[in-house]
């Protein structure tokens, strides 16, 4: 049975109900602030804010840990690389051959890794609480061409399907005697080649059919202005949230540059 992980989690909470444009504003603002103050503190604060967001939006812990599992390898990589190779000035903590690790490089590695996690939580807070169609409507309302929005929507729609496809293809190949349980990294990489090829073929076939299906649904009908089934409306709660976001951003900028 294929795992069905639609990123969006349907709930009826204040965060879910927010206009997608307001949520997008939050994503942009939180990202900006994270970069405006390159400190471990800001990154942790952002993660904290998002944690409150997850709690208020009633996102189960399992989903939150999944983000962490997704980002953790990247974090480790960024941290190690920066700590080992990013040594600038500063007192060396210890030296091993040509490599010098300094307190500065360790701190910098930690910052980059945490910032990565902060960005991931911000984006996932948005993905978990905004359904795909609403998200696209938000983009389109902000002036993004519909085709771009649709492309994003389809990417989100097919992401879980590709994950499931990968599993099925891997199973099918293993059942034919492909040994994926090899010890060496290189061996395993080599062994995964048939899996990736079969996946590519299936994905290409799917995308051709998808193109047909979209045309059969009158996408791009000549001389038609596309309408919207569930149009967006800014409610007073949305306006209030937007006002708060702007106020925070202004304060942030003022504090940073004055």
């Amino acid at each position: 049975m294929a795992p069905n992980f639609d990123l969006y989690l349907r709930r009826d909470t204040a965060i879910h109900r927010l206009d997608p444009r307001v949520k997008l504003a939050f994503v942009v603002e939180a990202t900006l602030l994270t970069f405006l103050w390159p400190s471990i503190g800001t990154a942790l604060a952002m993660i904290g804010v998002c944690a409150v967001g997850f709690w208020r939006a009633r996102i189960p812990a399992a989903h939150v840990t999944r983000i962490f599992r997704l980002v953790a390898p990247l974090m480790v990589m960024v941290f190690t690389l920066t700590a080992v190779f990013g040594a600038g000035m500063g007192t060396p903590l210890f030296t091993a051959g040509p490599l010098t690790i300094t307190a500065h490089s360790v701190a910098r590695g930690a910052l980059l890794a945490l910032r990565l996690l902060a960005l991931a939580t911000i984006v996932f807070l948005w993905l978990f609480t905004t359904d795909q169609a609403t998200m696209v409507r938000g983009f389109v309302a902000l002036g993004v061409p519909y085709e771009w929005g649709l492309t994003l929507a389809l990417a989100l729609r097919y992401l879980p399907l590709f994950a499931a496809l990968f599993e099925q293809v891997r199973d099918a190949q293993q059942a034919r005697g492909l040994d994926l349980e090899q010890q060496s990294f290189r061996g395993r990489l080599q062994a995964y080649r048939p899996v990736l090829i079969a996946m590519m073929i299936s994905a290409l076939r799917n995308s051709e059919h998808l193109g047909w299906a979209l045309e059969a649904r009158a996408l791009g009908a000549p001389g038609v202005r596309r309408s919207t089934f569930r149009p967006l409306r800014l409610r007073s709660a949305d306006v209030a949230a937007l006002a708060v976001l702007i106020a925070i951003l202004m304060t942030g900028i003022i504090l940073r540059f004055l």
């Binding site: 969006y8 059942a175 005697g177 040994d179 059919h209 045309e215 791009g220 009908a221 309408s227 089934f229």
Partner: protein
Amino acid sequence: MPPDILIHNLFYAYPPLREGDEAVPVLKGINLQIARGEFVALLGRVGAGKTTLCLALNGLVPHATGGIFRGDVTILGQNTKRRTVPDLARSVGLVFQDPESQIVQMRVEDEVAFGCENLGIAPAEIAERVAWALAAVGLNDYRERSSLLLSGGEKQRVAIAAMLAMRPQVLVLDEPTASLDPAGKSAIFRVLAELRDRHEMTIVMATQELERIARFADRVVVLHEGQIGLDGPPQEVFSQVARLQEWGIGAPQMAELGHLLTQRTGRPYRFTGMADAYRELRRQARKLHMEKLRRLPLNPTPERSHLLAEHPQIAVRKMSHSYPDGTAALKNVSLEIPPGEFVALLGPNGSGKTTLAKHLNGLLKPSQGSVTVENRDTHTTRIAELARLVGYAFQNPDHQIFAPTVQEEISFGPRMQELPRAIITQRVAEALDRFRLIPYADLPPALLGFGQRRQVALAAIIAAQPMTLILDEPTGGLDWRSQQEFMEIIAGFNTLGRTVVLITHDMRLVAEYATRAIVLLDGEVLFDGTPQGLFGRPEVLDQAGLALPPVTRLARRLDRYGIAADTLTLAQFAAAWHTRLAARRRKRKVGGPARPDARAARPAVPGAGQNAGILSRSPDSILSQSKDEAQGQHGA
């Protein structure tokens, strides 16, 4: 009123696979008119051009596919050559075979609204249309559901609703039920019949569902070698059993029974359906007082001697399996499968069939209990090693196809086993020959048609010669002939003493091939025994959503005239009927000289040659029994 669909002298060839090759025509001069409110079923072998014709009806052929296109397709007065596909979408809705690649939104109501949005319809009207379309397919309560979490049948109904919301006059469906379970299939056919009856929609459906077509369609159009071979009401078309079989398409079981009885007894029998067959046979049985004849017990399927029966090939002991999220998929399953058995694994979608099958080659490990394959515990054995013992053909052939040529694809399994080169070459050659893939040996398998891709996938697994073969719904979307050829290969594999586990919804296959049936429901074994045993348990069949094959149902209704209620196959039925008929006639002639009835002694009927597989099993014993009885009476 002009017809809704008018096809005039349509000729079409796809662009060739390789540059420089000649384009092979798929459609060679199609002329067809379809009137408003007709439900037309499009029949034909895999690769006969059904999909191409469907795509031509909404302009995807030739606008999206290219190739050579001659002739005219006119839909509601619009020539498809002069309209774009999105423009034609207002008149023609097209539902594809794969539900996955046509659903583009994550929420059911957004999905249904998508086409209307593209047509620029006002939001208020879209809301009305969405509600109407979902009601028409019986999914009123599904508006806010995630489209990812629907069953296959529900997805296809959403896909139909998404087309309906655009209010097309014509609805075209390309094998929409090929991957569905019986409940899903029935739902789709009911929806379509209602759309025709209540909304006068014109429906064209490419399909292999012979039994359901006979019940639901108004007209059957048979594509044969790029042209229209037969065209008429189902009763008329399906009365041409011999021709349909010759073309590899087959006919509903009752029509085939009529044909077989005619050949067997020399009397004309012509059945269009169950009611018809029952009426006719009962009339004869009554006239001849068949109920007074001594009852013949049906020979049980000959028990095969299992030399190693005490050493099961596969043993499942008190096995449970839970998914990572905690849902129990299998609960306390215990099974022993001796070598040489032909096991049918049955049950509705989601009952755990595939999960169980994946335990038999180690792809899944039990959460509790154990699974051993030839005395190897799957917990501690590598999947790659188990794969040498157990071959597994997945439902979707595309998941396993990756090699640049058919030849290399087939040699993958043997190469993984590190066999000597000479043996590999020999096995590949054998497999190519047996699956009739020689002409394609050097082509990339991914570019072949669906039927051939399936053949390649199976050839690749058989070439590895595993001791056990697991087949996950291998015949979905295959035509009658391909299905039969395929099952013959499997049966041949089985008679060599190798074990077969077949996951299927097709009760005809169970009746004709399986020696054992296992029914799963909600992760538990509901039934485990012979097919005859299963067919005698209506409550089990009911619970699992399984239906008896028509011939068994007919035999049950004729039980009092001495047709054994556990008749499984056409050949058994025909043999039993023939015996009783012959016996009855002789009794009537008591006193007179017993006329030697040449037909009675005739062994397998030549025309039934296509049913060779069916005949090769128990019927022989029935035949010999009938001869014995006949002789006994002659001697008297």
